[in-house]
């Protein structure tokens, strides 16, 4: 019994009237029994609108902060007229005088009561003004006044200061320094981790025998040309190769890349247009950049078409030996002709497709018989390269050299970031070794392994 009573008491004690805050948090009221808030009050508003199931409605509206007693009383009378219009329905309304209504917590609110009609059709109404909380309020009710009075009894205002008031004087001197960031240099660590992972992958691939080891040093007499060591010199305005034969001969090969430079400018302009669009720059500016990009790309294509790619082989003394020049503009199946200073066609080159593997043919300059075939060795690299690029040299294409169906040599790249390779050959038949070198260098120029996965 005692336990049951104590539980009932605690429920009563803990179940007080529900509280309701205004949208801006400045005012909090308790909801009178039977009343509930209306959904139509806009969010963020400082007003309250409540109604009950009997059709009584109640509102509490915040007045301008500068409103004084006279303006509040005027507003109260205006509200009374509104209520009378709503409730009269052809009947007489009578309102009492404006008077003070004392509050239990102390103080009073000012207002008036009225009623419309008589007998069972009587409708009560009332208006109250409150200034006691620093927030001028105008409450009105179409119904008994008591619930509105209860609301004002229990209302709480959260008044906030209007300015920042430090307790002490401002500090002299500069701001206190900040400590170094706890994760400073993390980007460098991430990048190093990526590089380490890639190098680890390269070492693992080497250990598994997936990458080609550097071939053993040549045992052939020093008078033979092969193997020839080839190296691409990077960060040059032209494409430059250096080659050194086993017999001490040296060559270099150069090829212009004007078209690539112009096309690269066009691509950068396209990227700039994309950046402008992402920052929602002026449409005119974006359009201008796009037009400039299109013009530059077009110019690049024109330069490429009208300036076929050419590679000049130069001996160690700086004498140009001959030139391998692309025939026309055929990006899918390029062809080239090697011409010496007198204009003789020394040999021809053409690319033939063999699935995804690269394959080139070196042809006799006059009769166009196939002297040599240059065929990519491994297919898995061909499949991976479009996704990863040559991946720090690990996936560069290595070639076998075939003459009359028999392997007579190879071009093997070192698995390094820089483009270094070794060209080996034993018998070449009718093909001059220097012609082979030029052909290989031209293939490297026109069919390069890119470090990025963009399409070639």
């Amino acid at each position: 019994m005692n336990a049951t009573v104590s539980i009932a008491v605690s429920i009563l004690v803990s179940t007080g009237p529900a509280r309701l805050s205004s949208g801006d948090g400045a005012l909090e009221i308790s909801i009178p029994p039977g009343y509930s808030p209306r959904q139509s009050v806009p969010a963020g508003s400082g007003d309250f609108e409540l109604s009950d199931s009997s059709g009584n409605s109640l509102s509490l509206r915040r007045q301008p902060p500068e409103a004084d007693r006279l303006s509040l009383e005027a507003a109260a009378y205006d509200r009374v007229k509104e209520l009378e219009l709503q409730l009269a329905a052809g009947q007489e309304c009578a309102a009492g005088p404006l008077r003070d209504f004392p509050l239990r917590r102390g103080g009073a609110v000012r207002g008036l009561e009225g009623r419309c009609g008589a007998g069972p059709q009587t409708r009560e109404y009332g208006v109250l003004i409150s200034t006691g909380m620093g927030l001028p309020l105008l409450g009105s009710v179409s119904g008994p006044l008591a619930p509105l009075l209860e609301i004002l009894e229990g209302a709480r205002a959260s008044l906030v200061p209007s300015e920042l008031s430090p307790p002490g004087p401002p500090a002299k001197g500069p701001l206190a320094p900040l400590p170094p960031r706890p994760f400073h240099g993390k980007f460098a660590l991430v990048l190093l981790a990526v590089l380490a992972a890639v190098q680890g992958a390269a070492l693992a691939a080497r250990a598994l025998g997936l990458s080609r080891k550097a071939p053993p040093p040549p045992t052939a007499p020093a008078s033979t040309l092969f193997p020839v060591r080839i190296e691409r010199i990077h960060l040059q305005s032209q494409v430059v190769f250096k080659a050194a034969g086993a017999n001490g001969e040296e060559w270099s090969a150069v090829s212009d890349r004007k078209a690539s430079a112009v096309i690269a400018c066009g691509m950068w302009l396209l990227l700039l247009a994309a950046l402008q669009a992402s920052f929602q720059a002026d449409r005119g500016a974006i359009f201008e950049t796009l037009v400039l990009s299109a013009l530059t790309l077009g110019m690049g294509a024109f330069v490429q078409k009208s300036n076929p790619r050419a590679l000049t082989l130069v001996d160690g003394d700086g004498n140009a030996l001959f030139q391998v020049v692309e025939d026309g503009y055929s990006p899918l199946d390029p062809r080239a002709t090697a011409i010496d200073k007198e204009g003789w066609q020394l040999f021809r080159l053409r690319r033939r497709r063999a699935g995804r593997l690269r394959r080139w043919q070196v042809l006799d300059g006059i009769q166009e018989t196939v002297l040599l075939e240059v065929e990519e060795k491994t297919s898995y690299k061909t499949w991976l390269r479009p996704w990863t690029g040559h991946l720090w040299g690990l996936l560069r294409a290595d070639y076998r050299l075939l003459a009359e169906g028999r392997e007579v040599g190879s071009l093997d790249h070192e698995p390094t970031m820089g483009n270094r390779a070794r060209l080996s050959a034993d018998t070449l038949g009718a093909l001059d070794p220097r012609h082979l070198l030029a052909a290989i260098l031209f293939i490297e120029r026109v069919d390069p392994d890119r470090w990025h996965p963009w399409p070639a």
Binding site: S21, G23, D24, G25, A26, A43, G44, G46, S158, L159, V160, P161, S162, E163, L164, P166, P167, G168, P169, P170, A171, L175, A176, L178, P179, R181, P182, F183, H184, G185, K186, F187, A188, V190, L191, A193, V194, H234, L235, F279, Q280, P386, W387, T388, G389, M417, G418, W451, H452, P453, W454
Partner: protein, 235 residues
């Protein structure tokens, strides 16, 4: 090897390990766009009781920060979230949800303002944008545009690094709040007021394994870090 060194030399300044090179007008433009976008979902609140305090406190805190004449503007927006937003054009939004959370504690609100002003004064958005561009460029240069495994891994590495940067900036902004309030004459602990309110509400966060993917460090970590800094400041 030359390309590798060139790439690193390019990536380090792009990523923001050095100074911030992003021009101010881009910062402002980005801020205008972001603020406009957010204002669509969070309409401004006019005539809020906290408005006068917000303007006054914001002005006083901005006057002692590293970029006092940047042109800060403060606004209360409607949202039930307990949040505040600093845009790189100097606009700072405070939600009315946050104002309810601070109750009548003006100093807690001032600490929030100090934090947001810190983000603008220290150019955190510019730095984050720069590092994002730099990290994405490095990933792009290394692995291209295709959605390959390598590219996705590079993206994930970039995101983790960006999150790291984001958390560092939050911690730095917490310290800025302490510094600015101390410069005005408040005790250093004043800058921790709102953090402590947040820490109370933070108990319902996710488990720790998610922390690496959150843009803000856990609140208790922020409180500990800021308290250590505040204690070391001269009184």
């Amino acid at each position: 090897m030359a390309r590798l060194i060139f790439l690193l030399a390019l990536a380090v300044p792009l990523s923001g390990c050095g100074r911030i090179w992003l021009p101010e007008y881009i910062e402002r433009r980005a801020g205008d766009l972001l603020a406009r976008e957010l204002a669509r979902d969070m309409p401004p609140v006019e005539g809020h009781p906290w408005d006068a305090f917000l303007q006054d406190a914001g002005k006083k805190l901005a006057a002692v920060c590293e970029r006092p004449s940047y042109g800060y503007r403060f606004r209360i927006v409607h949202s039930p979230q307990i949040n505040a937003f600093a845009f790189p054009n100097g606009e700072i939004f405070v939600t009315d949800g946050l104002l309810k959370a601070v109750g009548r504690d003006a100093e807690a609100l001032a600490s929030v303002l100090g934090h947001e002003i810190g983000h603008v004064a220290r150019r955190h958005t510019a730095e984050a944008l720069q590092s994002k561009v730099g990290l994405r460029s490095v990933g792009f240069l290394l692995f291209g545009v295709d959605q390959s495994v390598a590219r996705v891994s590079a993206d994930l590495a970039a995101q983790l690094t960006e999150l790291g940067y984001g958390r560092e900036m939050e911690l730095e902004a917490d310290l800025c709040s302490i510094r600015y309030l101390a410069a005005l004459g408040y005790p250093p602990e004043t800058g921790l007021k709102f953090l402590k309110i947040l820490a109370e509400k933070d108990r319902e966060r996710g488990p720790d394994f998610l922390r690496y993917f959150q843009t803000h460090p856990p609140t208790q970590e922020r409180v500990n870090y800021a308290e250590k800094y505040a204690k070391a400041l001269p009184r």
